[in-house]
């Protein structure tokens, strides 16, 4: 077995401090970007689901008899809702609840104003298709009835989520490119410092792969170390953000201490591995490209 010797003296050339520190900074940013993406996606999916299924039905003149005779318009609409497949949890909003909603605009004593306040029914839509026909059906039962769905809000939340995810992906791409550029610059600097040694062992019959592997091994070690440090430094901040986000995600109700999402526990250990891959491949490409300038 052949002993491993640092032929090129790379421990004196590829800087031990600067590259890991810069890669640590990149990994720190990447960890925050990944955490932000995961948190946004989780919250957005939750909000999207809630908003998309929400139905709000306004019935004007609820106490007036319905056109079909017999019951009031409100009772006719409630009966129609009960008979509609896909509508669930239909509940009439109590008068004091409606008053509380209108209080900022109409004052504390809405009943005294003698305004025609519509009855409000909240429900959930659980049908597979959009509830497009519901408004027309209820309008037949009680003309003037309005149906509002949360689909528009859900679409806006989806658009916002997609934008945030694109931003996070762009941040990750930029971080990866900057990390690659840092490794390329460090490798070029290492080649410049050890040029004579490279030329000597090239002249002695070293394969391009022998030389490139030496640089790549060093770059991999330094980027991996830097990424581990950066990821570990990001952890306290991620836990702090998890504490802030706990009320929105419902975690606080279940756990005494905030915890990170399982997906993040998978993604964070991958960061040093990805950084090591960037270090290895960039060093290989840089060195092999430079070696082609030798005869």
């Amino acid at each position: 077995m052949t002993k491993r010797v640092d032929y090129l003296g790379l421990r004196f050339a590829l800087t031990d401090r600067l590259l890991p520190v810069l890669v640590a900074a990149m990994s720190f940013l990447a960890a925050l970007a990944i955490a932000g993406t995961l948190a946004t996606t989780t919250l957005a999916l939750q909000w999207q689901g809630d908003a998309a299924s929400a139905l709000t039905i306004q019935v004007p003149d609820p106490a007036t008899p319905a056109a079909s005779g017999g019951a009031t318009r409100l009772a006719a609409v409630q009966a129609a809702l009960q008979g509609t497949v896909g509508v669930a949890n239909a509940q009439l909003m109590a008068a004091d609840q409606v008053n509380r909603l209108l209080e900022p605009w109409l004052g504390a004593d809405v009943a005294q104003l003698a305004l025609p306040i519509p009855a409000i029914i909240t429900a959930n839509w659980q049908g597979a298709a959009r509830p497009d026909g519901l408004a027309a059906a209820l309008d037949k039962v009680a003309p003037g009835t309005l149906v509002q769905t949360g689909i528009t809000w859900a679409a806006r939340v989806a658009a916002l989520t997609a934008s945030l995810q694109t931003c996070a992906a762009t941040v990750l791409l930029v971080v990866a490119l900057v990390a690659g550029a840092l490794v390329a610059v460090a490798t070029r600097s290492g080649i410049a410092q050890r040029r004579e040694a490279v030329e000597i062992i090239h002249g002695l019959g070293a394969l391009d792969a022998d030389i490139a592997d030496s640089f790549a091994a060093r770059a991999t070690l330094l980027t991996f170390t830097g990424a581990v440090i950066g990821t570990l430094l990001a952890l306290p901040i991620l836990f702090w953000l998890a504490t802030l986000a706990a009320p929105f995600s419902g975690v606080a109700a279940r756990a005494a201490l905030p915890s990170l999402p399982p997906a993040l526990w998978v993604a964070l250990p991958l960061l040093p591995l990805v950084a090591a891959c960037i270090g290895w491949s960039t060093a290989q490409l840089t060195v092999r490209g430079w070696l082609r300038s030798l005869a």
Partner: protein, 227 residues
């Protein structure tokens, strides 16, 4: 065999504005050295000796002409095969070209480690060759701790440790006193007797006179004598 056929070389340096382009450092050089041959390469400084040796060691490529080294036309080999061919060539550089961060032992072991020989074989061969060049007590010394003559002997040990088929030496006795130069020549001639083709570039006319052998003499990038 080493064969040059109408070889021209011009370095690819860019001329400054107002200057003429780079001049040809080798002009139509042709010669042949048979397997196991010994040849002196002589000529004044700037004649093109080092450039010719760079072509033989494949650290430069000719602009024109054909070069055959150890039976291989070098413009027809891949980078990988060129590296393997270089392992069969031992080179003693004028400026030693030792790796300063490695010990004498590790410098000499380099060609064997690149060829992935076992550590046992490396230990045997390196110890033997360092004993041969009289430096068995300097195994762990770094080049900076050695004299010029000792560094030269380490460079020679590194060039011959893998028993190359071709040995190329550029002014190998330049830093040695007469006694050391004689010892070195004995070593080189012994290798030549074992079948290694040897090319030695030198200014030392006394050395050439003491060891008569075919001679390539160069002037201004041309061969002026070919025995």
């Amino acid at each position: 065999m080493v064969r040059f056929d109408d070889v021209w070389l011009k370095y690819r340096t860019q001329p400054r504005s107002g200057e003429r382009g780079p001049a040809d450092v080798l002009r139509g050089v042709s010669f042949e050295i048979p397997d196991g041959g010994f040849c002196w390469l002589t000529g004044p400084s700037g004649a093109g000796k080092t450039s010719l040796l760079k072509l033989i060691t494949m650290t430069e490529h000719p602009n024109r002409g054909m070069i055959e080294i150890l039976g291989t036309e070098i413009d027809k080999v891949s980078r990988h095969d060129a590296a393997l061919l270089r392992r069969r060539i031992g080179v003693v550089y004028q400026d030693f070209r030792l790796l300063g961060h490695l010990s004498a032992y590790d410098n000499v072991a380099l060609p064997l480690r690149l060829a992935r020989r076992s550590e046992n074989k490396i230990r045997t061969d390196v110890t033997e060759i360092l004993h041969w060049v009289g430096l068995s007590d300097k195994l762990e010394s770094r080049p900076a701790e050695l004299s010029g003559g000792e560094q030269q002997r380490i460079a020679i040990a590194r060039a011959v440790v893998s028993r190359p088929k071709l040995l190329v030496a550029d002014e190998p006795t330049g830093n040695l006193d007469d006694e050391q130069a004689q010892r070195l020549m004995v070593l080189i001639l012994a290798l030549n007797k074992l079948g290694t083709t040897v090319i030695v570039a030198t200014h030392n006319h006394g050395l050439v006179a003491r060891h008569p052998a075919p001679r390539l003499d160069m002037r201004d990038g041309r061969l002026t004598r070919h025995d």
